[in-house]
Symmetry: C2
Subunit: 756 residues, 2 copies
């Protein structure tokens, strides 16, 4: 089987880079001084042992962050950062994650290292066994496990390009076995480049028991290793399975997961599943935490690992595999224990491998980051550029502990910097980011079915819910959203149910609307597009309008929709009631886009200044939107006698819009607790009349002190089937309402039952 030829065949080429990835990343919780945390695992992270994203590893302080399996490195890192942010924002505010694989200074008494307080007795027993066998200190080492799977399309194409076997499962396992052997043989290169555990902190080793600094304590015999008697051959899948079983049988391993090789073959839950199903993917376990990366590993590292695995599949093996793997292992031990600032004794071999890797990129037309090889070669030439080298050099200025603490603090600050967003998903809407945050925190699996379209699949055990845009769910009927989408239909139905709605007419062409000027000219009225959202194309005339202004407003509105409504303008303040499942959960008052004069700056300058606020941005990616300076704003200013370069008096409030939507630059103020129950009930009943379960319904109320039952006390303007939720969570003023969490609880009521 000529794998090199197969990899270059035209049928294989399109799929050569297809792969799936997953990362498990451990790390110790510490306080802001860098001391091991003494608190329990954060309560905010739900479903204890079973959260698929955030778990405890050996100790109560050792957080394990687990990404889902992804098809791209971009998505992998999106999830990795999101899970980090959820972890950070769920911990005590004075806690952070230790950025090194080697733990921070440990308690003097080993028993003061607290084994993870899991609910499953088996899980606790297993950890007790580890504590007895290896000692609690050793178990406090953290690392990255990098799960890797060649794309199915790639393996299928390879399979089809040969004729030696028609046993697909065996073929696939062979692919992984070869890859694994070559990886193990050259693992010392990974240790050289990315080893990052030069020194230990207090109370990890018996005093003076080891020489430090090295490249990687963790990847040396002083790290995380099995008893020397544990010998497992990778010569074939069958020998691997047989050896592991035999070790377990002999009592040298309690179960497969205790086998600490740099690579673990993965099939199903048990080793025996490997026998039935073959190798599905492999787990690289020899990656130290990269101290200089917020999430413990860089994109370039992951890219290199993928390339290195392709190389391992590509490269011919010598005759005696077991022998050369043993050489590989002892080379790794040598490299791991080298001084981090000294060149490695395998420099020449390393250069040769890099040459081969680079030529492989050319041969297979692979795409890699421009700087990848430059950086790798630099690390080879200058050991101080390796991770261990960098960490050790930095540490000499103060101490490794201080360096780690200061890095941890930077990561901590970063994770709290924009608490409303998930760094990896800022291309998605804020409400969706918030919902994803809540889901991860509550242990609900999040599968992004369509990132561009904000389409999520949420799953908790067997319970699946689909959500789009954060609040479009299975709970609303199709027709109720179509009713809300159609303002004329909404009003008709509300009117039939006895709610007050503004009178008005619908027009389907501008000429027809022009002819009806007399119907509205002398009254307060609003011109608005029938179906569009976010207040676009709306003009308000509080004291009637000239024919010219009427015509202009119609032109603007007809730009947004082929149907336009002209409606009676109701006096009062507009409130947005967020109703979910027959409850009013939040009420916002929204103030139209405005600036406050300082007597010096022009309106345009004031707007630009106000837009500098990092909370303001575009397209619902920030809690508030940038104020625009378009046609409508200019028209509105003109109505008040201003132009863009007018300089308003000090403290004068200048409005740039009539409509108060946050999406057109308005300010949001939470008033939920200020509004009486009778109005909340009006909102609930109106939403119910529309047959809806989730709706943002807009009421005009002239005087909050007047009971809702009074005639003309309120008027309902419209109901929104996709009400934004982030503006309630991050109002300009007032209390935050985490509505995404309400949505989650509505979709998964079992979350609340679990809490009882």
């Amino acid at each position: 089987m000529d794998i090199k030829k197969m990899l270059q065949s035209d049928h294989v080429k399109p799929y050569i880079s297809k792969a799936r990835y997953g990362i498990e990343k451990e790390g110790q919780r510490v306080d802001l001084s860098g001391d091991l945390a003494t608190t329990d695992h954060p309560e905010k992270i739900s479903i204890n042992d079973e959260n698929p994203y955030i778990q405890r590893d050996f100790s109560e302080t050792q957080m394990e962050l687990i990404t889902p399996v992804t098809d791209s490195l971009e998505e992998l890192f999106s999830y990795l950062s999101a899970i980090h942010e959820v972890a950070y924002r769920s911990m005590d505010e004075n806690e952070m994650l230790w950025p090194l694989s080697m733990p921070p200074s440990l308690p003097k008494k080993e028993e003061d290292i607290i084994i993870a307080k899991l609910t499953s007795a088996d899980n606790v027993l297993y950890r007790r066994h580890l504590a007895t066998t290896y000692g609690r200190r050793k178990q406090m080492i953290s690392g990255i496990h990098f799960n890797f799977q060649f794309g199915d399309e790639l393996i299928e194409a390879l399979f089809k390009s040969q004729s030696e076997t028609n046993d697909y499962k065996q073929f696939k396992s062979d692919i992984y076995m070869k890859t694994t052997r070559n990886y193990l043989k050259h693992q010392w290169l990974i240790t050289y480049l990315f080893g990052a555990t030069p020194s230990s902190e207090e109370n990890f080793f018996e005093e003076n028991s080891v020489n430090e600094p090295v490249r990687s304590i963790r990847n040396s015999k002083n790290g995380y290793t099995n008893d020397e008697d544990v010998q497992v051959s990778f010569i074939s899948l069958q020998t691997y399975i047989a050896d592991i079983s035999s070790m377990v049988h002999k009592g040298l391993l309690i179960e497969e997961k205790e086998f600490y090789s740099a690579v673990r073959l993965r099939g199903g839950q048990q080793v025996s599943d490997l026998e039935d199903d073959g190798v599905k993917y492999i787990e690289l376990r020899n990656i130290d935490l990269n101290p200089f990366e917020t999430y413990g590993i860089s994109y370039e590292q992951a890219e290199f690992l993928h390339l290195f695995l392709l190389y391992s599949l590509w490269k011919d093996e010598g005759a005696n595999c077991d022998e050369s793997m043993n050489v590989g292992e002892s080379n790794n031990e040598i490299v791991a224990l080298e001084h981090p600032l000294e060149p490695t004794q395998f420099k020449q071999e390393a250069e040769h491998i890099l040459d081969e890797l680079e030529s492989l990129v050319t041969t297979l037309h692979l795409t890699v980051s421009e700087e990848l090889f430059v950086n790798l070669r630099e690390m080879l030439i200058d050991p101080s550029k390796t991770l261990a080298g960098r960490l050790y050099s930095e540490s000499k200025k103060s101490s490794q502990g201080q360096v780690a603490t200061s890095i941890a603090k930077e990561n901590y600050d970063k994770s709290w910097d924009k608490p409303y967003q998930l760094t990896g998903f800022t291309d998605m809407e804020l409400s969706t980011q918030n919902l994803m945050f809540d889901a991860i925190q509550h242990g609900i699996q999040v599968d992004i079915l369509d990132r561009h379209d904000q389409f999520l699949k949420l799953q908790l055990n067997d319970h699946v819910e689909f959500v789009k845009n954060g609040n479009m769910t299975s709970k609303d009927s199709y027709i109720s959203t179509l009713i809300m989408e159609n303002k004329t239909v909404t009003k008709k139905i509300l009117h039939q149910h006895g709610f007050r709605v503004p009178g008005g007419e619908e027009f389907n062409n501008i000429e027809q609307a022009m002819r009806s000027y007399e119907l509205f000219s002398s009254k307060p009225f609003v011109v608005k597009p029938k179906s569009t959202n976010y207040g676009l194309g709306i003009s308000i005339f509080k004291e009637g309008a000239s024919f010219e202004d009427y015509q202009k407003a119609l032109t603007i509105a007809f730009k947004e929709d082929s149907s336009v409504l002209i409606e009676e303008f109701l006096n009062g303040t507009e409130y947005r009631f967020f109703v979910l499942n027959d409850k009013t959960l939040a009420i916002l008052s929204r103030i139209p886009a405005n600036v406050k004069g300082d007597g010096t700056l022009t309106i345009e300058q004031l707007v630009n200044q106000k837009n500098q606020d990092p909370l303001r941005g575009l397209d619902h990616r920030t809690p508030l939107e940038t104020i625009q300076l378009g046609e409508l704003e200019v028209l509105m200013l003109k109505g008040q006698g201003y132009e863009l370069d007018s300089i308003p008096k000090k403290d004068a409030i200048i409005y740039l819009r009539e409509n108060s939507n946050v999406s057109t630059g308005g300010d949001s103020i939470d008033v939920t607790d200020l509004i009486s129950e009778d109005y909340k009930k009006i909102a609930v009943d109106a939403v119910s009349a529309l047959g809806a379960k989730i709706s943002g319904i807009d009421l005009i109320i002239e005087d909050l002190k007047v009971p809702a039952a009074t005639e003309n006390a309120y008027g309902i303007i419209e109901a929104n089937f996709n009400p934004s939720m982030y503006m309630h969570a991050y109002p300009y003023q007032g209390k935050s309402r985490r509505l995404t969490l309400n949505v989650l609880h509505y979709l998964f009521p079992e979350l609340l039952q679990n809490q009882e």
Copy 2:
């Protein structure tokens, strides 16, 4: 109170023409020879006595068609025609409606006139009373009742423009009382113009008992009148109520509805409701069926009645109202009994009224049909232009019975001409027209909430359902339709559930898609926009594609959507499975737009010829769509070596599209009975996996004889949340499936329970 001044005030002017209308139209069922039907009321018209649109009046053969209340005459006539069409298409195929108010020749024995077989004993008893009091023959006369209400805005504006009273209810009743009195005073003019019962048919009168011809038997003492002792004053609402009550008390009337005045005041169900609520609207009862109008009354007549009622409100009354009304009544008797071809003796008065009407139009800036006054004046000058005159003149050539039969036959043909549509609603989608037809037939109230948007409210007793586009309902969840709208998400979910879907990729920009050329170039594949419907922008390459064609297909697809899918092309025939509530109700095979060569015509000419078929049209208003000759069609022809002016050989089938959507000119063939249950179950299960209740799901099946469980037996292309239904009801070939009726039964399961 100066009503003239009030009507001219600026505040009233905008509302001057606002009104609401309703029509009740009776008519006798006859066979195609014009003989009174001997059959029962059509079984297809459901809920017997309570259908709000189609009822029986006095006799079993006398159909009463009732429009809902409308805000415009246009909508009124839309409904009137729709209800007629439902009535016609529900009757025996050899029955039609008699177009005259005077019944066709009646049975010799009065008892052979069958009283309507209603289920309510009260209703039957009342008709027996009428039979005894007036005779069955008299009760066989039919007519139009025109219900009229001034717009609330108009009455409110009038109320606000005066200060004499602040009792709105009384004010409103006074408005109607004055209007009624003036109407009654001048009712003879209506009789002159629109009287249309010059002669009776056999067995209506005792032989030679009356002189014929006249203008209106129905509006004379020989028509439909109470005993002379029945005297009711219209001087005020109070006298009206008191007089009616007294007549009932004396036994002269059995109830109010037996009071046969030309105008009836309408409040609630009972006269006593008038006392509580005042007059809500008035019912004009003196309109003979217009024999020359398919629906018994012309738009111009209705327009005239509205104008005449405004005139009645406007015109000053003399001092003695009761007296002048008596004069009006006796004048009416005179006019009714005049010879239809002789001028009326009140010609001068009539001219004066027309002058006043015309000047009122000017004064109040009213809009009326251009020809209205020309026609009215012509009728006044030339009595043969009046309805009675025309009917009598026509009848002289043969007989009135023959004229009526021939007109009835024309109306009959017209109502069956395009059985798939409702003439009054051809601007709406065919599926919505079909659903409205079914609803009317089943006695479900149809309220068009938004005509432009195909938005209906359906109501049966207290049960309300909203429907958009014929199949968007409360039964589907919002998220399931969003899933179906997103082809990528649909495929992911179906794939996760184990259904076979074509492999493929999604691209969000054309450059990214171009770079992936290699992934598809050598395989059969399809390029399609992600979200659009109706097969727009789809290109199919059955044997791979050149880079140029690949690029062109991408350009076409990206024109339709910002995301484009490239998918494996599955071999086989595409079938559309229509699934409703876990049942496959219909399956269509669709053949792409095509023409058959005749050896003479060019492809363009053949297309134009095929498009002549009246079943083909645009925008889902006909069962089949017009074949287009756009960019895609030209590309498709080019692929086969043709151009638009190529002349195909005789009988050669030339395809103009790859995709087979009916909406792009394809032909539809019903194959429901040809496809085995296992495939139907696949469709049902797949729709269920998407959480949907109503869906049109497209399966590719290579060989119908291969069981569905066989590997790769089928592939699912997409699921549609708004599948067109008319193409199943009116396939190009095969059995019709009335899916709108299934939708109706799904929404209103009580319809089926009623049948049991």
